[in-house]
């Protein structure tokens, strides 16, 4: 079997075994489970040389051949880098979760969810087929829901989980619409083929619609303003989740999508306006909101929002250097943000608080964690010699130009980057340096399981910059080429080259350091501003959900008001109107048929029908009416028999019998008054509707009979009923043989209807529900059917 195919499913298989392993080995099960993502990492690392040479690997198996849907994957620079980040950081996260969640009664379940998420995310980035991509996309939303709501006894967790699911899951549905648009426009449903369609999509009249739908999916997933609010709320999840899903991987799925489609959708005015605009707004909003926070995780979460904004902005900016900058920054961000989240988790775990104002002087107690923190923070701040510096230089090369749009975007980037430097320092420096502050727990160094991750990631931030040649050759250049759609080669190294970019970097750093010392003032100013605004999208989400609930209540009350009379009236009025409308629109009215010549017994039968009908209308007692209904039904059945349709007549007899019996029994149960108490007006209304339906049906039947009869089917069944299906009763042969699958569906419906009726009968009305009080007319002991 293809190992790549196995790699798709390996995380899910590991997820199944996780709870058992934890029961067996305790928190050390993490060592065993981490082998799975490590092996996947090794497998994908094997593709590096081929992809670095500009190759791409595709493969797959047929899934639904009828619709040309395949289980296919695409490994190029973009998806390979993502796959390596997911499995690599995933390995560290599994280990970290082993230490962080040590002793938690549900550690097995937690590791199971994390591994399932890993499988979903890996599937997402490697999928070639749109449909697989969509399935994995929604699967990441669902697993993220499970992980955010992991502490399900806390109401805040549940709300955050629900919010994330609504926003990202809803965005996924919008994305599906977008993908179907792309499929329809190009006729291909695989990214590898889509990338070869050239300008087909850009020149389509539906380009803008497809673009907006695709971005709807990407922006919700990657928390772009104003739908960013779910990401900070998702910090309710345990820290390994925040480090993995909400910084390094899942939230980048939207960025991945935008990058993946850049060669197809990009280089248009709409693309180069919408993306920088939303991305830039997200960058500024994210950094400013981060400044206000004092919780380590929330500070990091808002800078994640900001970073995603920066990535979207750069991808949409359109120059090659900007794309190179985005690629470098994406990798750098995954490394430093994953590490910083784990650092925040360590501080929280060991010191007992995440509030940055209550932390200080932890350096002596936690030197290793501090080392990882400060290295990562330098990378985040864009200082040499870290990969963050490379990214920032490349970004400034990409966007700095003399036209107003570029100046504007550059200004946004400088402010955003400066504020990110502030937050990076605040997270990495403030808790560790300065005077010692008493913390709830007496802090000491985190165990190996917990510092292995941040230390390794911090080291990688350094290594990628020091050996930038290798890094560019195998990771960043292939990835940038895939995003741009043309071969690119990144050359930036840690040796600073004097020029505009370096100047801008220095400006950024100076601004950041200045702001860092004024952080307290900045924080209170932000808090005051937000208080003055009052309303935010987070609150808007609650209002939206409340509105949705209210709307559904109103709709249900209107459409399902529980009044049988109302349902019947609407149904039959619509039936009559529809039948008349059909004849009216077609302007085909039946001609009056020739008066039939009937023999005496046929006349008698017709007479019985008439008597039955009169009896129904005139009956004072409900039971009499029901029995009269049966009389005219039987008479109709006799007519069928006389006209030569024994099958139909047979069935009609049985149906009539059972209708009378069941109606009578139902009446007994309902305890209605035996008398009909309707007013003259109601009777008139009912009569009018009944006559209208009757006339309409008669007309349409006459019309049908007056159109020439097509004998094709009749001849077919006459010919084949006996020769193929060995039966002379054509009706039965059609039911059980020719259209057997239909019949199977129908008997399924019969059974479900029976179950539903049974369930309804079992409900004992305790109190009147809603606007429709259950009819209760006392001392009414109506008909005596089946009673003692």
């Amino acid at each position: 079997m293809d190992l790549t195919f196995l790699a798709f499913f390996a995380p899910f298989i590991a997820a199944v075994f996780a709870p058992f392993l934890v029961r067996l080995l305790g928190h050390n099960a993490a060592w065993v489970l981490a082998v799975v993502p490590a092996l996947i990492f090794a497998h994908f690392a094997g593709f590096l040389p081929e992809v670095a040479d500009g190759g791409q690997v595709t493969g797959g198996v047929q899934w639904i051949p009828t619709f040309n849907v395949n289980f296919s994957w695409l490994i190029d620079g973009l998806s390979l880098t993502f796959a390596l980040l997911i499995s690599g950081i995933g390995t560290l996260i599994v280990l970290y979760a082993g230490g962080y969640m040590k002793g938690h009664p549900q550690q097995g379940r937690f590791l199971c969810f994390i591994l399932m998420f890993m499988g979903a995310m890996q599937g997402l980035v490697l999928s070639d087929s749109f449909f697989m991509f969509f399935v994995f996309w929604e699967l990441t939303s669902i697993t993220s829901f499970l992980l955010i709501g992991f502490n399900h006894s806390a109401e805040r967790s549940r709300r955050a989980a629900m919010q994330a699911l609504v926003v990202t899951g809803g965005g996924g549905l919008i994305l599906l619409a977008g993908l179907i648009f792309l499929w329809n426009m190009t006729g291909v449903s695989e990214f590898s083929l889509l990338l070869g369609t050239g300008d087909l999509v850009r020149e389509s009249p539906f380009y803008l619609a497809a673009l907006i739908l695709v971005l709807g999916g990407a922006f919700t997933k990657s928390a772009q303003f104003p739908l960013h609010f779910w990401l900070p709320n998702a910090m309710e999840a345990p820290t390994p989740v925040s480090a993995y899903l909400h910084s390094a991987t899942m939230v980048k799925a939207g960025v991945y999508l935008v990058m993946r489609l850049n060669p197809v959708l990009g280089e248009t005015v709409a693309w180069e306006t919408i993306l920088p605009l939303f991305g830039g707004a997200t960058l500024l909003v994210g950094t400013f909101l981060a400044v206000r926070q004092t919780d380590l995780k929330l500070m990091l979460a808002y800078t994640t929002v900001a970073s995603l904004g920066l990535l979207v902005m750069l991808t949409g900016f359109g120059t090659e250097k900007a794309i190179e900058g985005a690629v470098l920054y994406l990798v750098a961000h995954s490394l430093f943000k994953g590490a910083l989240f784990m650092v925040a988790g360590n501080v929280d775990h060991e010191a007992g608080t995440r509030d940055v104002t209550k932390l200080g002087g932890l350096l002596a107690a936690m030197p290793i964690t501090f080392g990882a923190a400060i290295l990562s923070a330098f990378s985040m701040a864009g200082l040499p010699p870290f990969v963050g510096f490379l990214a920032k230089e490349e970004i400034y090369y990409g966007i700095a130009a003399s036209d107003p749009w570029s100046i504007f975007i550059t200004a946004v980037a400088i402010v955003g980057n400066a504020l990110m430097l502030v937050i990076g320092l605040a997270v990495a420096v403030k808790p560790f340096l300065g005077p010692k502050i008493e913390t709830p727990k007496s802090a000491h160094e985190a165990p190996l399981l917990m510092f292995a991750g941040p230390v390794l990631l911090a080291a990688l931030s350094l290594a990628a910059a020091l050996w930038s040649g290798l890094f560019h050759q195998f990771i960043s250049s292939p990835m940038a080429s895939a995003v741009a759609g043309v071969p690119l080669e990144i050359t930036i190294s840690i040796v600073p080259k004097p020029g505009l970019a370096l100047t801008l970097s220095i400006v950024t750093i100076a601004l950041g350091v200045a702001l860092y010392f004024g952080l307290a003032g900045l924080r209170s100013a932000m808090a005051a501003t937000l208080k003055a605004i009052g309303w935010g999208p987070d609150h808007g989400f609650d209002q939206f959900m409340q509105g949705l609930v209210r709307l559904s209540v109103v709709l249900t009350r209107t459409l399902q008001n529980g009044r049988m009379e109302f349902y019947m009236t609407v149904t039959f009025v619509l039936l009559a109107l529809w039948l008349f409308r059909t004849m009216f629109v077609a302007d085909e009215w039946p001609a009056l048929p020739a008066f039939p010549v009937l023999s005496i017994y046929e006349w008698v039968t017709v007479l019985i029908i008439a008597i039955g009908l009169i009896a129904i209308v005139r009956a004072k007692n409900r039971l009499t009416a029901i029995v009269s209904l049966g009389i005219q039904g039987f008479a109709v059945a006799i007519l069928f028999m006389l006209m030569g349709a024994p099958d139909l007549s047979f069935t009609q007899f049985m149906v009539e019998t059972l209708t009378v019996v069941i109606l009578a029994l139902a009446m007994t149960r309902l305890r209605l008054s035996p008398q009909d108490h309707r007013s003259a007006g109601q009777t008139m209304l009912g009569g009018t509707i009944a006559v209208a339906c009757g006339v309409a049906l008669t007309f349409i039947l006459l019309q049908i009979l007056q159109t020439p009869f097509d004998r094709t089917l009749t001849d077919f069944f006459n010919l084949y009923s006996y020769s193929i299906a060995q039966g002379r009763n054509i009706v039965n042969v059609i039911l059980v043989d020719f259209r057997g699958v239909d019949t199977f569906g129908e008997i399924g419906v019969v059974m479900v209807a029976g179950l539903a009726i049974l369930a309804l009968l079992r409900i004992v009305p305790k109190r009147s529900l809603g606007s429709a009080p259950a009819p209760r007319i006392p001392e009414a002991e109506p008909v005596a059917v089946g009673r003692d």
């Binding site: 024994p646 099958d647 047979f650 069935t651 049985m654 149906v655 019998t657 059972l658 019996v661 069941i662 029994l665 139902a666 007994t668 149960r669 299906a725 060995q726 039966g727 002379r728 009763n729 009706v731 039965n732 042969v733 039911l735 059980v736 043989d737 057997g740 699958v741 019949t743 199977f744 008997i747 399924g748 019969v750 059974m751 209807a753 029976g754 179950l755 009726i757 049974l758 009968l761 079992r762 004992v764 005596a784 059917v785 089946g786 009673r787 003692d788």
Partner: protein, 139 residues
């Protein structure tokens, strides 16, 4: 409805109708009849028995919950089609065998199994509704 005559004749009537319903079911492939109509006849037979003698004798007589009978019918309907998969033809293709029993050649087929499934579904569903309605509110 608990007149003596009705109560005395109902069991025989029910037995006859059930027998007849099976007859109708089996002749269905060539003459008027079939699983659906057979099921309806059987259901009304049980309904008559219930009206005459009460619900619990009926429940005792049929032994299984009518919904379970219905479910078994659906199951039969489903597996009737699966036989053809083993024969390498599309799902629900009719397969026929002609064994000779006591000198008479019988025509047996998967469509017959399917028709029996239809019969049981209709019988079970309608009977469960009728019995539930006949039952007093707390029974």
């Amino acid at each position: 409805m608990r007149t003596l005559i009705f109560r005395a004749t109902a069991p025989y009537l029910t037995a006859l109708m059930l027998l007849y319903s099976i007859f109708v079911l089996l002749r269905g492939h060539n003459e008027p009849g079939g699983g659906f109509i057979g099921g309806l006849i059987a259901a009304s037979a049980l309904a008559i028995y219930g009206i005459a003698c009460g619900v619990s004798p009926v429940r005792r007589a049929i032994r299984y919950h009518p919904m379970a009978i219905s479910g078994f019918g659906l199951f039969l309907g489903a597996i009737a089609g699966i036989f053809s998969l083993f024969a390498g033809v599309p799902y629900m293709t009719g397969l026929w065998v002609y064994p000779t029993v006591f000198g008479v050649e019988l025509k047996l087929s998967t469509t017959l199994i399917f028709d029996i499934g239809v019969y049981l579904v209709v019988l079970g569903a309608i009977t469960s509704i009728a019995l539930a309605l006949e039952e007093k509110e707390r029974d």
